[in-house]
Amino acid sequence: MSVSEMFINLQGVLTVDQDIREDIRKVVQTLEQTAREILTVLQGVHQGSGFQDIPKKCQKAREHFGTVRTQLASLKIKFPADQYYRFHEHWRFVLQRLVFLAAFVVYLETETLVTREAVTEILGIEAERERGFHLDIEDYLSGVLTLASELSRLAVNSVTAGDYSRPLRISAFINELDSGFRLLNLKNDSLRKRYDGLKYDVKKIEEVVYDLSIRGLNKEATDGAGGEK
């Protein structure tokens, strides 16, 4: 085989690779668009008026997740299944975003932490790496950290909207998360850095609870909460 024949072959391989990347990029763009739309829906909960419609907003977000599933289904056939990590960087960011959005919906609905398995179900992907397009554990954790920071914001806005019980529940939830993360031995990487931010969320919510406590509003909250929930 001459050198030029060799290189023609090699170019063939490179072309396949470039086409795959191009295809992935396109699907990822549509995923990002859907993610942004879900975000816009869910950001409504921070508005004073948004507190009544939480179920409706979750409902709407869930519908968008239907689209996400279709788009992810389309993504996973764009490349050979065993090359997940070869192209990982392309969808990593949007997948973290989607984990956050799914976790946010689940939290708003049930005030629990979505499990990794549950997220994969919502996204229509595999729970186990061996079975195909799955969710990398670090991406799952990254999405969960984003949830913590969103909830600390929600605690603040809940008070503004006159809901004094929600911050108490958020506080308990985030404390649990914090304990969970303390069980992990994270490398010195971006996830570790993001985790360092969690303590600010914890502190912020503790201060909200404090503000309510000192004014006796937490009692008001728990008194009423019984009925509300």
């Binding site: 990002e32 942004r36 739309e37 816009t40 921070h46 806005n157 008070v159 503004t160 006159g162 509003l217």
Partner: protein, 272 residues
């Protein structure tokens, strides 16, 4: 050097040399224009910034109306500078010199949208901004200096205009949110409890807007998202504080509080 004369023999009127002489002229002209635009942009930036400072004085001034009028005058001065930019760019591709003028235009967007918000409590649109950047020849002289250069132009062309790009608009609006945050904290400090809630509503809309755009815009826009989020958090926290502390007020005291406050301050003024 003893061999220098060798190359001096190149005919200085050769076609190549003649061409490069014209290139020299073309490049120098372009660079000079760029430089003039950079200077105009700096002027625009400074005057816009000063307009913003002026507008922040509204809450403490006896009359907001006066300041609004003054700010309008200042913005007119800025627009005169932008008119000069537009004149420089006449017949040019504005994008070619965009880097020179972009910082100034962004700052102008910030100033003009801040003033607009204060007046109307809404966001000025890009179209509205660009409408104000259509300039007619103002006096005989301008018309005359223009006519000889391009006498084939119709009467209608006796205007110059400049279009702020959507990206510069977005970047200006992103910076506006910083000023709105400042205005919010100022308001709380001044005992104005309505403005912060209005501002938080408005800022949230802008934040949602930027989230919606996300990373589809250029990198500079995404880069501002973090600061924007910080500003929003400050405003939301301010509203939260207002709400929490308001929760303690006995309803029957509501009217009382403010009248007392006024008294104290008047008294203090007497002392100082």
């Amino acid at each position: 050097g003893h061999r220098r004369e060798d190359k001096d023999s190149i005919n200085s009127s050769s076609a190549v040399i003649m061409a490069f002489k014209s290139f020299q002229l073309e490049l120098d002209t372009r660079h000079d224009k760029y430089e003039r635009l950079v200077k105009l942009s700096r002027d625009i930036t400074i005057e816009s910034k000063r307009t913003i400072f002026l507008l922040h004085r509204i809450t403490s001034a006896p009359s907001g109306e006066e300041i609004l009028i003054e700010s309008e005058a200042k913005l007119d001065v800025v627009r005169q500078k932008i008119k000069q930019v537009a004149q420089e760019l006449m017949g040019e591709d504005m994008n070619q010199f965009h880097r020179a003028i972009s910082p100034g235009l962004q700052e102008y967007v910030e100033a003009v949208s801040f003033q607009y918000f204060i007046k109307t409590r809404t966001l000025i649109s890009l179209e509205e901004i660009n409408k104000q950047l259509i300039f007619a020849a103002e006096d005989k002289e301008e018309e005359e200096t223009k006519l000889p250069a391009s006498d084939c132009l119709s009467k209608q062309s006796l205007t110059w205009s400049l279009k702020v790009t959507p990206v510069d608009y977005l970047l200006g609006v992103a910076d506006l949110t910083g000023e709105l945050m400042r205005m919010c904290i100022n308001s709380v400090g001044n005992g104005d409890i309505d403005t912060p809630f209005e501002l938080s509503q408005f800022l949230r809309q802008i934040y949602d807007g930027f989230s919606y755009i996300g990373n589809t815009g250029p990198y500079e826009v995404s880069k501002k998202l973090y600061t924007l989020k910080q500003s929003l958090a400050k405003v939301e926290n301010a509203c939260y504080t207002l709400k929490v502390r308001g929760s303690e007020i006995p309803k029957h005291m509501l009217a009382d509080v403010f009248s007392t406050k006024t008294e104290i301050i008047e008294q203090e003024d007497g002392l100082s």
